[in-house]
C-alpha cells in the first residue's frame, strides 16, 4: 500500500522548528492517522533508505523533534482513544498524538471528573507521545513522581514495521526519554489516579531567595503539598514585558516590586478540612521561616488554579519568546537552558550557585521551575553572539558541576540536538554508552530521529 507521504512544501515550515527556535530541513512529510499508516510510512521510508524524524506538537525545547534530513512523520492526527477500561481503576489506551488538553477533557468527561493523569506538562498543547519521548513531567511531579509511574504499556513500531508492546516493569522506562530514536510509538496505555476533591493554589512572595528556600525546605514533608514551583525577580519582570499580549494572564495583578522570590504551592486532598488545615500549617511555616503570609495569594478549585498555573507556564513561554527575538536577529543564538535535578546541594545553595555564576558574568538570565524537587530551570538570555558563546561556557560549567554533584543532568527537557554537545562531552561514558547500546539494539540502521543525543559515528 502506498503510504501517505508527500513532498515538504512551503506551507510545512512549522514542522521544521520547535519552541527552542532550532530549525532543520526535510524532504517529505506525513501525518499518519493510525498504526497501519505508521507501518506503511516506515516501510516506504526504509525502502527508499530515508531517515524518519518522528515529531509531536513541537513544543519541545531541545530540537529533538526537528528533522535534519529525510522524512518527517508528524503524529498529531494519531490522537484517538483506543480503549477505556473502568473495571479496576481507570485505564486508557490512547494514541501518541493526543494532546494533554484533549486528554484532560476526555478523562474528565469519562470519569465524571474523578480521575486524572497527574504528571502533565504545563504546556497543554504538548502531545502525550512527545512527553513520553522527552521524559517531561509537570509541576505535580513533586508529589506524584514521574510519568513512567502511570504508564502500563507502550506499543512501538520498529524499523522493520513490526509492532512491539512493552509492558510495565520491562523496558518501557528505557523508551521514556528516548527522544523517538528507537521507533515510532503507536499506543500508550495509561493508568490514571483518583483526583483529589479539593485543590488550592497558593502564591507566597518573599523579599529574597533565602527565606523562600527555608520555607520550601520546611514544608517538604507535608503530605498535602502537590507542587512547589519557584520564580525569581528576573522571570517576573520578563513576564511583565509580555503580559499584556498574553490573554490568559493579562488580568493577573502585578507582583509588588519588593518581591524578589516567588513560590507557587499547590495543596490538595479529599476532605475540605484537611486542605484548610494544610493551608493553616503553610501560614505557620511561612511565619517560622521569616516570611509574611499576609501577602500570599490563594485560589481554590480547578478553574481558578488553572489561571495561576497559566502564570507559571508564562515563565516558559516568555523565555522562549525572548530567545526567539534574539534568534530573529542572529540565527546562531539558540536556547541556553539547564533542567538539572541537583542531588547534594540544598535549594538555597542551588539558587546561590546559579546566581553567583551568572551575576558575575553580566549576562541576562532568569530562573524558575521545580524548586521543590531541586530542579529549577536556568535560562541564559543572550542578546548577541558574544553573549551566546559566553553563555555556552557557563552552561558547560553547570553541567560539569552537576555531574560532580551526582545530579540528574538532562532530567526533563531531554537532550535532543541542542544539548547533544554537552551530553557527549560531559556525560560519563557509561551513560552515553547505555544510550548508544539501546539505539544499536532497537535501531541499528539509524533510521529514527537521527541527530538526537549523539552523532552517528558513535554508533
Amino acid at each position: 500500500m502506498e503510504a501517505k507521504i508527500r513532498p515538504l512544501g512551503n506551507e510545512d515550515a512549522d514542522y521544521l522548528q520547535d519552541e527552542s527556535g532550532f530549525e532543520g530541513i526535510a524532504y517529505s512529510i506525513s501525518f499518519p492517522q493510525n498504526r497501519n499508516e505508521v507501518k506503511d510510512i516506515i516501510d516506504q521510508c526504509m525502502g527508499n533508505h530515508e531517515t524518519i524524524t518522528i515529531q509531536g506538537a513541537l513544543t519541545g525545547i531541545t530540537g529533538a523533534g526537528v528533522p535534519l534530513e529525510g522524512h518527517v512523520m508528524n503524529m498529531k492526527e494519531m490522537n484517538h482513544i483506543l480503549e477505556i477500561t473502568k473495571d479496576c481503576g481507570f485505564v486508557m489506551k490512547v494514541e501518541p498524538g493526543i494532546t494533554f488538553g484533549e486528554l484532560e477533557g476526555i478523562v474528565r468527561k469519562e470519569s465524571n471528573n474523578t480521575y486524572f493523569l497527574p504528571v502533565v506538562p504545563t504546556e497543554k498543547s504538548a502531545t502525550l507521545g512527545g512527553a513520553v519521548s522527552s521524559g517531561s513531567k509537570g509541576i505535580q511531579s513533586y508529589h506524584y513522581g514521574s510519568l513512567e509511574n502511570y504508564i502500563e504499556a507502550i506499543e512501538i513500531c520498529d524499523n522493520q514495521g513490526t509492532f512491539v508492546t512493552i509492558e510495565k516493569k520491562a523496558e518501557n522506562n528505557l523508551l521514556i526519554g528516548s527522544e523517538g530514536m528507537l521507533g515510532a510509538i503507536t499506543a500508550i496505555t495509561l493508568r490514571l489516579v483518583k483526583k483529589p476533591k479539593y485543590l488550592w493554589g497558593i502564591v507566597f512572595m518573599f523579599p529574597e531567595d533565602e527565606t523562600a528556600c527555608a520555607f520550601a525546605d520546611s514544608i517538604h514533608e507535608m503530605e498535602q503539598v502537590m507542587a512547589v514551583e519557584y520564580m525569581d525577580r528576573k522571570t517576573i519582570e520578563l513576564i511583565d514585558t509580555y503580559k499584556n499580549s498574553m490573554t490568559q494572564i493579562s488580568k493577573v495583578p502585578s507582583i509588588p516590586a519588593e518581591v524578589n522570590s516567588l513560590l507557587y504551592i499547590e495543596i490538595a486532598g479529599d476532605e475540605e478540612e484537611i486542605v484548610e488545615e494544610a493551608a493553616a500549617v503553610l501560614i505557620e511555616k511561612c511565619v517560622e521561616t521569616g516570611g509574611d503570609p499576609d501577602t500570599a495569594w490563594a485560589v481554590t478549585g480547578e478553574t481558578e488554579v488553572e489561571n495561576i498555573r497559566n502564570y507559571r507556564h508564562a515563565a516558559s513561554e516568555c523565555t522562549n519568546m525572548k530567545i526567539a527575538e534574539s534568534h530573529g536577529s542572529n540565527k546562531r543564538i539558540k536556547k541556553l537552558s539547564a533542567d538539572i535535578e541537583w542531588k547534594n546541594r540544598s535549594r538555597a545553595e542551588i539558587l546561590k550557585y546559579y546566581n553567583g555564576k551568572l551575576e558575575n558574568s553580566g549576562l541576562n538570565y532568569c530562573i524558575f521551575g521545580h524548586l521543590g524537587t531541586k530542579q529549577p530551570y536556568v535560562n541564559i538570555l543572550a542578546n548577541n553572539q558574544e553573549e551566546y558563546e559566553q553563555g555556552k561556557m557557563i552552561m558547560s560549567q553547570f553541567i560539569r558541576d552537576a555531574y560532580i554533584d551526582g545530579g540528574m543532568v538532562f532530567k526533563e527537557h531531554g537532550i535532543g540536538k541542542l544539548k547533544k554537545g554537552y551530553f557527549c562531552e560531559l556525560a560519563p561514558i557509561e551513560e552515553i554508552n547505555k544510550m548508544v547500546k539501546l539505539k544499536g539494539k532497537w535501531d541499528a540502521k539509524s533510521v529514527f530521529n537521527v541527530g538526537n543525543m549523539f552523532s552517528e559515528n558513535q554508533l
Binding site: G105, R108, K109, N112, N113, W200, I202, V203, K251, V252, P253, S254, E272, E276, A279, A280, L282, I283, P293, D294, T295, A296, W297, A298, V299, T300, G301, E302, T303, E304, I308
Partner: protein, 266 residues
Amino acid sequence: MLKIAVCVKQVPKNQIGIDENTGNIIREDGLNCMNIYDYAAVETALRIKEQTEAEVDIFTMGRMDSRGVLQEALALGADEGILISDSKYAGSDVLATSYILSRGIMKKGDYHLIICGKQTTDGDTAQVSGAIASQLNWNYLPWIHEIAEVTEKEITACMLMDFEKIEVTAIYPCVISVEPSIYTVRIPTLMNTLKSRKKNITVYGQSELSLPEHAIGQKGAPTRVAGIKNLTCKAVPAIRDLTAAEIVRLICEEAECPLESRGGYE
C-alpha cells in the same frame, strides 16, 4: 454605612455548544466558574468598601452548587454571601431572574447600591442589571468604566458609550453595571480565603421569598426559544439611526423568526 449588593453568576467554564432543539447550553465537561464579567463588579464594590468602609454582600441565583462563586467572592473580601435557589426558579429568563433577584436583595436589607457585571458569558443578554433597576424603580447607570466619586448620598461615574464618555451622578438607591476594564481584579489573599471558609452562606428559597408563581421560573418567563440558527454576519448601515423596535424587526427578518408581541414588551 453604605450598603452594597453585588450580583454574580456561576457559568460553565467552557461553553461546549447549544442544543439546537431546546436552546439549552450543553455543559459536557461539568466545570463551572464565576462569570468573568462579574469579577469587575466585585472588585468595584471592594474598592468602594476600602474607601468608605461600606458593607458588601454578594448575591447569586442558581443551583445549590453555585455557592462556590459566593465563596470565591467572600475570599476576595466581601462580607456575606446570599444564594437564591429553588427548583421553582429554574427556567427563569431576564424578566423572572431580575424579579427574583430584586426580591431577594430587598429581603436581605436596605441597600444603597447594586453592582452588576456588564453581561454573562452564557445568557449574554446584558439586560439583567437594567431589569433589576426597573423592577425596583431605582436609578440605573450602565456601562460604567470609571468611578469618580462615592459619597453618602450619591455616586458619580463615567459611562462608556459607543461614541462618547459621559460622567453622570446618580442619587441612591441606584443600580450600576460595570465594564470589565474598570479595574484590574485582585486575587484573593490566603488569609481571606481561609477566613471566608468560616463565613456562612444564607440561602433563600421560595419558602423564604414567597414569590407569586406566575412571576417566577418558566411561568414568569415570556422568553421562548423559537429556534437556533447560525447566521452569517451582515453589516447594517447607520444602526445608530434606528429605533430599538426597528432593530428588533430587522433581526427577526434576518433570522426568519416571527416577531411575537407580548403585552407590554414590544
